[in-house]
């Protein structure tokens, strides 16, 4: 194997080993395999957190893990790792982490081996619609209209979004579009909505059109609720999101289910918190109170 990959693997393994923390619950005797792709500060942070919780976990590049005897649990960090793990037909359950629901569905549909019975589960990366709608309702404290763009890849979320909006006392405007349609036209049709909620959708959002979206909505005094901290930093008003620790706390619970012989289901994050772009909020004349800043559910809370 090329020296670069060995060195990187050793470095990442070392990160796991030096991490100190309380070990999470795992099925007895199961080897926990962490598959990742690439190298970045974000990935290193995840691996450090994993290492604190699961000191026995081993990290692999997706195509280099040897076949083993005995139980194993495969954690795929990101859609590329998930794709590779499925292609490699790993034994043992696969849990996808830090992958959006849209990407997870697409990868599983395209790469899960036919006839495979190995369980594939996930904790989606983005907050579920009802958390985002709760956030919007708490920001505005009245009935407002929420515009959402959906493509064919995210159309499955329409009913969940409508239900979440209804429960939160909000109106929702769904705009169906496609990657081949003009993004600006779809965005224009949402100009009547007071808030625009972004759903992660790899077929719709590119850096260019996210930039156009943030600029256009800001011009119209429309707030944008994003799906990640990076969008909040870029100019979205707020996002409901889950930190790494939030996701791993829920992973503990899935591990527990596996240990009890249960097959964990696909989940949105249970634990979440909110982030705001205070400057944008102020500029849009949106008053945020302390209660909305503390919105969410923390592990153990």
């Amino acid at each position: 194997m090329p020296n670069g990959i060995v060195d990187r693997r050793r470095l990442l393994q070392a990160l796991l080993l030096v991490s100190v923390g309380t070990a999470g619950a795992t099925p007895a005797d199961a080897e926990i395999r962490v598959f990742s792709h690439g190298d970045s500060s974000a990935l290193r942070e995840i691996l450090q957190a994993l290492g604190r919780r699961y000191p026995r976990a081993l990290i692999y590049m997706p195509d280099e893990a040897p076949a083993i005897k005995g139980p194993s649990i495969n954690l795929a960090i990101g859609p590329a790792a998930l794709r590779s793990v499925l292609d490699a037909r790993r034994d043992g359950p696969v849990i996808a982490l830090f992958t959006s629901s849209q990407a997870y569905r697409q990868v599983v549909a395209d790469h899960r081996p036919v006839g495979s019975t190995a369980p594939v589960s996930a904790i989606h990366a983005e907050a579920p619609p009802h958390h985002q709608m709760e956030l919007i309702a708490r920001i505005y404290r009245r009935r407002v209209s929420v515009g959402v763009m959906l493509s064919d890849a995210t159309a499955f979320m329409a009913s969940a979004i409508q239900e979440a909006a209804g429960r939160a006392g909000l109106d929702v405007v769904l705009e169906r579009t496609s990657k081949d349609a003009k993004f600006s036209d779809a965005l224009f049709r949402l100009k009547g909505a007071q808030v625009v909620l972004l759903i992660p959708d790899s077929s719709l959002y590119t850096p260019e059109n996210v930039r156009n979206l943030l600029e256009a909505t800001y011009r119209r005094n429309q707030a944008v609720i994003g799906f990640s901290l990076s969008l909040v930093n870029a100019g979205a008003l707020a996002a409901a999101y889950s930190s790494t620790e939030d996701v791993l706390a829920q992973l503990d619970e899935l591990m527990g289910q596996l240990g009890a012989g249960q097959v964990p289901q696909v989940h949105y994050p249970r634990y979440w918190r909110v982030a705001f772009n205070e400057s944008v909020a102020r500029s849009l004349n949106i008053a945020l109170d302390e209660a909305v800043r503390l919105l969410g559910q923390r592990p153990g809370g």
Binding site: R142, F188, S203, N212
Partner: protein
């Protein structure tokens, strides 16, 4: 100058938290990037340098009228939208003559309110007026109108003495590929607009063409009949191009032409002195984003406005004698005495010699002296303005933001009637504003605008303000500012006389003459001033979707040029003053997506005017109220009332109720909106002050008016 917001963004995006990176990076799966965790996420788009200042931090009271409000209330002109602004006084003297002031005062030539389109003034330099019916923008292209209620000379320079109206047009990216709109209604009103929008690579374009016309009123007392219709055509083009990732170029061009029927200019006219207007504007603005905290904008614009206003007129032949013209220039009292049949006296030897010559010339005419001679006169005028300005926006920290800049402007007026040729001036200016937040609960603004005018010298307009944020949603505001208005070219350099062509019958064989009256400005005028003190309170009530702004103010206007400038009496001085005190309240609410509305009320005291001309337009009480309800299936209705008590000299009260209902629907990929408005006027007649003992009236035949509009977007 744009208002801006000082805070820095979060930590730069090169260090994303895991969740954000992976979710964001998932978006790139289709783009082919497999190494998603290496992606850096989304770059900061709404950077500190580009943030708008919040209402809680703005050092003024501001009214914002959105395009949605304009459509839902059935508003079809920009001047009509201004009736939603507390404290704005509008008198529609004729169909195309609007006298618009903030807090009223002088009705003759309102010129203390600056009007900007995308930051560029359309306040005409030579004659200090705004042609409301020929603004180079269609109401369909208006994204919002921001009115800063109070002196804003510290930011926008002189002529923003009482308030500033900033009309912000739609970004070319924010319009449909195609739109067509038509309106027809009472008084022969017709308005047709077509707009095209497109994008290519990193550019976008918006092109709008429009025609409008209406008959105006049904009767003007000044002529005993009706003659005030308006026809206008306008073309507006705007393109925006991204020049790389750090620069942007905004180009705009507009052309307006039209005809304003004018009922009256002078006694003796034998045809109507209608105006033909032809204006064009070009502007280029280049913005460079050096960093998230630093923007530099350079803007160049050129405006050329032309009025053709010829008419035929008759006068006693004696009034066209050159000897009478010469005597008037020396001693108008002598001419008035001669015309009254008296022998003038009390003047100089030169006056006496000129009077003798005039009397001899009159004697030679014999009986013809009192008979009419007719000819062609005009008030043709071309005004040009070339302006360049550089503005730097720099966010030094979360607490400190500085906007500064400088510029130069050349203004020219060309008219044989008003300037005996050409008059021009050159203006240089520097400005700066600092927004400082020493505490989370306190925002301080301090700024000023220094202008050097080649005709009227230098003027400085400062402003200081403190906004104390009592809580997350309450702010108290204290503002002290000085607004100024520098005299226009006409006030400073007028050489006003009427040449008469095609005189019939000829006088001593001559078919050209000059009317005996003329006026020459002595110059030396200074800027009008408004020292304004304001205490404001802003509360944001999210549960009701309501923002309420209250203000009490005390404005002391001084060095006012109040005189009515006439060719028979032209003596502008800076000798007037008036004190304006009062209170305003403004509430906008959006209870839900279905219910919205607004309320405004203004109370005004016009105190101690040293010239009663400064009380010619004045309403002690004025306001407006509207409610809009959106129903299901695209239906909506709105109800609005506008009223003012009309307490100025010769001024009548005004009130009207507009009921609008409409429906929007989508079919075959296009979106249609149809609406119908019924208007009920409280009074059929508008009256306004012309001079002491003279009030003019314009009248509609009916108190009920109706308008229908259909719009299609593709």
């Amino acid at each position: 100058m744009t208002e801006a917001f000082p805070r820095k963004p979060f930590t730069p995006l090169c260090a994303l938290l895991a969740t954000g990176a992976l979710i964001a990076n998932a978006a790139y799966a289709q783009s082919g990037s497999e190494d998603l965790l290496q992606e850096q996420g989304f770059p900061a788009v709404i950077s500190p340098a580009r943030l708008k200042q919040s209402l809680a931090d703005v050092p003024a009271s501001v009214t914002v009228i959105t395009a949605d409000t304009i459509q839902k209330l059935g508003i079809t002109s920009i001047v009509a939208a201004l009736q939603l602004v507390p404290g704005v006084q509008i008198t529609q003297a004729t169909g195309n003559d609007f006298r618009v002031n903030y807090h009223g005062t002088n009705i003759f030539n309102p010129r203390r309110l600056n009007v900007l389109i995308d930051g560029i003034s359309v306040y005409q330099p030579a004659y200090a007026r705004v042609m409301w019916r020929q603004l180079p923008v269609s109401v369909e292209d208006v994204d919002r109108i921001e009115v800063t209620r109070g002196p804003a000379s510290a930011a926008y320079g002189p002529n923003s003495m009482m308030a500033v109206v900033n009309i912000i047009t739609k970004h070319p990216n924010d319009v449909e590929p195609a739109m067509a709109s038509g309106m027809a209604g009472s008084q022969g009103s017709v308005l047709a607009t077509a707009r095209f929008g497109t994008t290519w690579e990193r550019s976008s374009l918006r092109l709008t063409v429009e025609t409008e016309q209406d008959r105006g009123y049904d009767f003007q007392s000044i002529i005993g009949r009706d003659h005030d219709s308006t026809r206008s055509r306008r073309l507006n083009l705007r393109t925006l191009s991204e020049l790389g990732d750090q620069s942007q170029l905004d180009l705009q061009a507009a052309y307006v032409e039209g005809t304003n029927q004018v009922p009256f200019v002078v006694a003796g006219q034998t045809s109507f002195p209608d105006q033909k207007v032809r204006d064009y504007y070009v502007q280029a603005a280049w913005t460079r984003h050096f960093s998230a905290d630093h923007d530099l904008s350079t803007r160049v614009n050129y405006a050329n406005t032309t009025f053709f206003q010829p008419w035929s007129s008759c006068a006693p032949t004696a009034a066209l004698l050159p000897q009478m013209n010469a005597l008037w220039r020396a001693n108008p009292g002598y001419v008035n005495a001669i015309l009254a049949g008296r022998i003038p006296s009390g003047g100089s030897a030169t006056d006496n010699a000129l009077a003798a010559a005039a009397l001899q010339a009159i004697a030679r005419l014999g009986a013809r002296a009192t008979q009419s001679a007719c000819g062609l006169v005009n008030q043709n005028l071309r005004e040009t303005r070339t302006d360049i300005e550089v503005q730097d926006t720099y966010v030094l920290s979360n607490q400190l933001r500085v906007v500064s800049g400088f510029g130069a402007r050349t203004q020219r007026g060309r008219s044989d009637t008003f300037f005996a040729g050409t008059s021009s001036n050159r203006v240089y200016h520097v400005f700066g504003n600092v927004e400082y937040k020493p505490l989370k609960a306190l925002t301080l603004n301090a700024g000023g605008y220094l202008e050097r005018n080649s005709l009227s010298g230098s003027s400085f307009s400062p402003r200081v303000a403190a906004n104390w944020h009592v809580s997350e949603n309450q702010t108290m505001r204290l503002v002290v500012s000085q607004g100024t208005r520098t005299p226009d070219l006409f006030e400073e350099t007028a050489k006003w006389s009427y040449a008469v062509a095609a005189v019939s019958p000829p006088i001593d064989g001559a078919t050209s003459a000059t009317f005996y009256q003329s006026a020459y400005s002595k110059g030396g005028l200074g800027a009008e001033k408004n020292l304004s003190k304001e205490v404001g309170y802003l509360v944001n009530l999210p549960a009701a979707g309501m923002i309420v702004d209250l203000k009490v103010f005390d404005d002391r206007l001084s060095s006012l040029i109040s005189e009515k400038l006439q060719v028979s009496s032209f003596a502008p001085t800076n000798s007037s003053s008036v004190r304006l005190r009062g209170a305003e309240v403004q509430a906008n609410f959006e209870l839900s997506p279905a219910w919205s509305g607004h309320l405004t009320y203004a109370y005004l005291d016009n105190l101690d005017p040293s010239s009663l001309y400064e009380r010619a337009q004045y309403s002690r009480n004025s306001g407006s109220l509207s409610v809009t309800h959106k129903l299901s299936d695209g239906w909506w209705y709105s109800l609005a009332y506008y009223g003012s008590s009309g307490d100025g000299l010769g001024q009548a009260a005004y009130g009207r109720t507009d009921a609008t209902f409409g429906k929007s629907f989508t079919t075959a990929g296009s979106r249609w909106t149809a609406s119908f408005m019924i208007r009920l006027l409280d009074y059929r007649t508008v009256s306004y002050f012309r001079d002491f003992g003279s009030t003019a009236e314009s009248r509609y035949d009916s108190r009920i008016q109706m308008y229908a509009q259909l719009k299609a977007s593709f």
